[in-house]
């Protein structure tokens, strides 16, 4: 649980990050750091503060104290859209697609959130603007191809089944050309087959795009698989409970207690 000794390699560093909501301390003195290209997981029981960490990183909420450093520079107080442009992109726990836009329009938004041509060109649609739009459209379809959604390109996002929506969100997040990708429960609601596909997808984009990825997940199988050879951070009640590779975490008594602490009591009270 110590900060990496060589900060210049760190793409992301959280130092003593704390946030209070009224009387509740949602995140408590959290410190962690990631090197470029790593893929790590953030796990913990419900209410542990995992999504809050993502919200802090993207400045959806302000920390009460602490530091967030992207490539060594503080990003506290930077507006979320600027943070996205600096290279951090995310998906959402509760899926936030643009419901009435088609799948490809959703992805395209990530490509043109800063428009690629001037306003005047927009009103007169110059040949240059038209070409830019064509290129953007092609790139969007490419991204859909990567997540295997090309045949749904023209379907309304809200009409897609849940599992496909999750993949679409990933494609959209990729469209912003991030360095750091934050995936919030990408496997939620998926069955075993879908999980396996997802694991493959995430591994594929990690290898080809060289993103740094943080995954929040409850599906232990997904976590253990993705983080083979990498780290898992365990959060409980806002504090960092443990860090380690999958084996270490699986055998960590504290972690087991945090997740399964209740079971022992139940057995005791229902014992004949």
């Amino acid at each position: 649980m110590s900060i990496d000794d060589n900060p210049s390699n760190n793409i992301l560093a959280l130092r003593n990050l704390t946030v209070d909501f009224g009387g509740v301390r949602a995140v408590n003195n959290l410190s962690l750091s990631l090197k470029s290209g790593e893929m790590v997981a953030l796990i913990g029981p419900n209410g542990a503060g995992k999504t809050t960490v993502f919200n802090l990183i993207t400045n959806a909420i302000k920390p009460t104290s602490g530091e967030i450093l992207l490539n060594g520079k503080s990003i506290l107080g930077v507006s979320p859209d600027k943070i996205c442009q600096m290279g951090i992109s995310r998906t959402f726990q509760n899926i936030r697609l643009f419901p009435q836009m088609t799948a490809y329009e959703n992805v395209e938004l990530g490509l043109h959130s800063i428009p690629r041509y001037s306003l005047a060109e927009a009103f007169y649609r110059t040949p240059r603007a038209r070409q830019i739009e064509k290129n953007t459209r092609a790139k969007a379809l490419e991204l859909l191809e990567i997540v295997n959604l090309k045949e749904h390109a023209h379907a309304r996002a809200s009409s897609l089944p849940y599992g496909l929506q999750r993949r679409l969100e990933i494609a959209r997040a990729m469209a912003t050309s991030p360095q750091l990708l934050l995936l919030d429960e990408p496997a939620a609601g998926m069955n075993e087959d879908e999980c396996n596909d997802l694991i493959e997808l995430i591994r594929h984009i990690h290898n080809t795009m060289k993103y740094t990825i943080i995954v929040i997940e409850h599906h232990m199988a997904v976590v253990m698989d993705l983080c083979r050879g990498s780290r898992i951070y365990v959060l409980a009640l806002g504090s960092l409970l443990a860090t380690g590779n999958p084996e270490q975490i699986q055998n960590n008594q504290e972690v087991i207690k945090a997740y399964l602490g209740e079971r022992k009591n139940v057995r005791e009270t229902t014992a004949p």
């Binding site: 999504t51 993502f54 919200n55 959806a60 909420i61 959402f92 509760n94």
Partner: protein
């Protein structure tokens, strides 16, 4: 100096009226998180019902008040059931509920306009002799307005903080889903809140009508009350009252010392400026969306 106190008293009485409106607005807002645009219409409706009761039905003042309150409550609860509840149950986006409320407002205000006409009417009661205290005249109606507002707000406070139903409402204001999981009847809460809204807006309408005039678009002052409660800090009833009193006094002073035709203009501009620089009110907290 006497002029100042005169204006002050007058300002307090109009502030009291605004307070009734602001509290009604804050109540709906804190529980349902939306702006009840139809408030406008309820106020005008209340005033017109009382007006009609006195001038056409020859009722004495107190009976007319009750008549007006009852009818406005029916209107308020009715519009909740027909125009808001279906959307609320569907968890419709706020924009839709606002448009629906605007619709109720449009329909009712223009119905009043159609049936009563747009002329400014003087409320048909005898203007009794005002009281004189140390050279400052205090209108009887101003006094009554202040008194009744005070009593009504005190009763409301007692209801919210001393009864079970009040507790239910306060719980719903914090988190409506949890409240319903705890066994609080959402529809019952809705009905009570809109009953209260009806009472507050009709009383405010009657006293505003007495103080100024009765006309179909008189409800536009609810905008001022809304902003006053926002300025005070939404979700806080005491703040709504404080905001309204300040507004009432300030605008009356402007009206008295500068010009009455600039009164509304001053209020709007003052409120907009505050709203823009204190978007969560002077005392309020923002409602962050859950990500």
């Amino acid at each position: 100096m006497e002029l100042f106190f005169q204006q002050l008293i007058s300002g307090i009485s109009i502030g009291a009226i605004y307070a009734l409106l602001a509290v009604g607005y804050a109540l709906v807002y804190s529980v349902y998180n939306f702006t009840n645009w139809a408030f406008d219409a309820f106020m005008a409706f209340g005033a017109f019902m009382a007006f009609m009761a006195i001038s056409s039905l020859m009722m004495p003042f107190w009976l007319a008040m009750i008549f007006s309150i009852v009818l406005t409550v029916v209107l308020s609860v009715g519009s909740e059931k027909l125009a808001y509840r279906p959307l609320r149950q569907r968890k419709a986006p706020r924009l839709f509920m606002m448009i629906s409320a605007m619709g109720v407002n449009l329909a009712i205000v223009n119905l009043i306009n159609k049936f009563f006409g747009g002329t400014f009417r003087k409320f048909p009661i005898q203007s009794a002799q005002p009281f004189f205290v140390g050279g400052v005249s205090i209108g009887r109606m101003d006094l009554l307005a202040g008194l009744i507002s005070f009593i009504v707000l005190a009763m409301l406070w007692a209801f919210l903080y001393r009864t079970k139903w009040g507790l239910g409402i306060r719980a719903s204001a914090i988190d409506i889903q949890t409240a319903s999981l705890m066994g609080i009847n959402n529809d019952g809460v809705a009905m009570i809140i809109f009953i209260i809204t009806g009472v507050l807006s009709s009383i405010a309408g009657v006293f505003y009508g007495i103080k100024y005039a009765v006309f179909p678009t008189m409800g536009i002052v609810t905008i001022k009350a809304m902003i006053a409660s926002i300025v005070g800090g939404l979700g806080s009833l005491p703040a709504a009252i404080v905001g309204s009193m300040i507004l009432g006094i300030l605008e009356t002073l402007v009206s008295g010392y500068i010009s009455s035709s600039y009164r509304d203009l001053f209020s709007f501009m003052f409120l907009i400026i505050i709203l823009l620089f204190f978007p969560n009110g002077l005392m309020g907290k923002s409602g962050d969306e859950k990500l």
